[in-house]
Amino acid sequence: MSILNFLRRRTATASVAKERLQIIISHERSQRNTPDYLPKLQEEILAVIAKYIPIDREKVTVNLERMGGSAVLELNVTMPEESIA
């Protein structure tokens, strides 16, 4: 049976499917309740920052978190090393 199991594991793609789904769905759920203006807001804030500092757009995250009655807008920008010096 061990050979069979070995062969089986090589063709077992369902676990890959489950893992991929868990990642993408948790990402999409986290964005589910964010307001529609968030992507545009992110773009505009970034444009302003980019005017002064060369930033890598990949290294920016914008998050809106609800805590009880209030919401926290969190902007995370990784500054390039040269700009700090």
Binding site: T11, L21, I25, E28, R29, N33
Partner: protein
Amino acid sequence: MSKIIVVTSGKGGVGKTTSSAAISSGLAMRGHKTVVIDFDIGLRNLDIIMGCERRVVYDFINVINGEASLKQALIKDKRLPQLFILPASQTRDKDALTMEGVEKVLNELSKEFEFIICDSPAGIETGAMMAMHFADEAIIVTNPEVSSVRDSDRILGILASKTKRAIEGGSPIVEHLLLTRYDGDRVAKGEMLSVEDVKDILAIPLIGIIPESKAVLKASNTGTPVVLDENSDAGSAYQDAIARFLGEDRPMRFIHAERKGILRRLFGRTKEEQPA
């Protein structure tokens, strides 16, 4: 008290119309007065699955626009006296599906029917949103496949935020997962997401597993809801799902691959391949 049930999925081709036809027929078989409405304006297909395509005179849009009465548009099923069909319009007048119009029709239907089944179109456009909007319960039809599961999750998000119950802050829509085109054999081989996998991801209660079955195509070929083919695997799986929907306790079937005897393995003739 009448109940509005939406059959939805996001993704196309997963079995919404097949399931709407089966579930509404199954409810009517059990004596519940049921109407099934096609919300797929411009691409009507519930009529052909139900086998009443040649009896359509007026449709849902005609009723909304006041061009026909509900009584004129409803098609009485020839097999089940408790079942009625409200077909979609085949002209592409999608904007005619207004919130007020749909609400008016649903209100009128709820005076007469115990169950109102809304067969949603694929996607998240007007037709799909309208089918979901007034629902009390939702049946999420999902295939054990990545795109279908992802779309189902998206639909769950919309049900929880954009529907009447969500907006008005009533009790949330009751959600049911209906897993269709399930192949226990492939699951055992690790080639297909299992029931548990899909349940883990979507986190809603399971109402039924419909196995991948030749009976479904056979049923649609002849315009007979598959649930009427009581000896078929898919037909009995729908029967189980309907019983559970009505609160009965039925063990899940078709989860695991059917154990094949050595002769079957060698000669590979399965039950559904035998001539009827």
